[in-house]
Symmetry: C2
Subunit: 158 residues, 2 copies
Amino acid sequence: MRLTTKGRFAVTAMLDVALRQTGGPVTLAGISERQHISLSYLEQLFGKLRRSELVESVRGPGGGYCLARPANEINVAEIIKAVDEPIDATQCGGKENCRDEGRCMTHDLWSDLSTTIHDYLSNITLGELIEKQQKKLKRCADKPGILQDKRTSHISTH
Amino acid sequence: MRLTTKGRFAVTAMLDVALRQTGGPVTLAGISERQHISLSYLEQLFGKLRRSELVESVRGPGGGYCLARPANEINVAEIIKAVDEPIDATQCGGKENCRDEGRCMTHDLWSDLSTTIHDYLSNITLGELIEKQQKKLKRCADKPGILQDKRTSHISTH
DNA sequence: TCAATACCTGACTAAATTAATCGGGATTAT
DNA sequence: ATAATCCCGATTAATTTAGTCAGGTATTGA
């Protein structure tokens, strides 16, 4: 399990789809604009997401992507896994027995941790994330929106 | 919060120290051998770990590294944070208000997730990881150790 | 003292990954 | 037909990861 900006992009994009698919398929161009991710990079990511059957594509004008399943049946772990091919195949790859303790010990410890994180992430669904946010939006609705140039949103990682 | 092999190396190395420091300071050369991490890379990592006050160094012959605090007062999140400088400073960096919903929404959602993971990892201490493993070792003690050349532990990432 | 041990630092390099780009398709609503 | 959209693979640039190297500095046993 890896946790990088790549996975972040994927989760972000999936959330964008989840939030907008009521109005029909969501285009990559739209996601690109809203989330500031380059179109071609999105194409790469959605290629993988589609092959992992997390989204479905509709071609032609008015086409785009929809979630392949309801939002609360898609968890974060599988999104990350789809785009972030697993590292592992580490030194002792589960083969060596506990002979050389020092080594295997820490190794097992890490892989335990790793699966724990995975389990944790696989219990968070897109649906839950959205729900959580919608509560927050209510509180936010009071605050007056401050007008500012888009370009002031500076430091972009991409 | 990022989760890469770099952080894994750091956690692994810290565990090695935790497990061996009863016999005095633990040398990088020893960790390097046992965990198969290059010495110079370890030097880089431990430089950061020391600056983050997670370990203390003892110089001179017989020197090495010790944990700066008891193992159950060091959590996994801070180890990773020490070596894996945070990414962030993302597009809207918390500055933009909820005006352009689509964008900020998914963004907030992700950062929520991110802090949740962080909270989770900061509740796992080295001490706990060791304890957990020691239970496992008992079960393992029965199995006969299979002799095999070290070189058969193949696929190394480094 | 002095030599061995071990940390410390910074600059450098190689490999891998991430992010982006490009140039072409294929599909389909209009 | 045409334009909007997905689809695909090759290529590239930037960044990060992992490792190397060359020179330190501090400590201490003999």
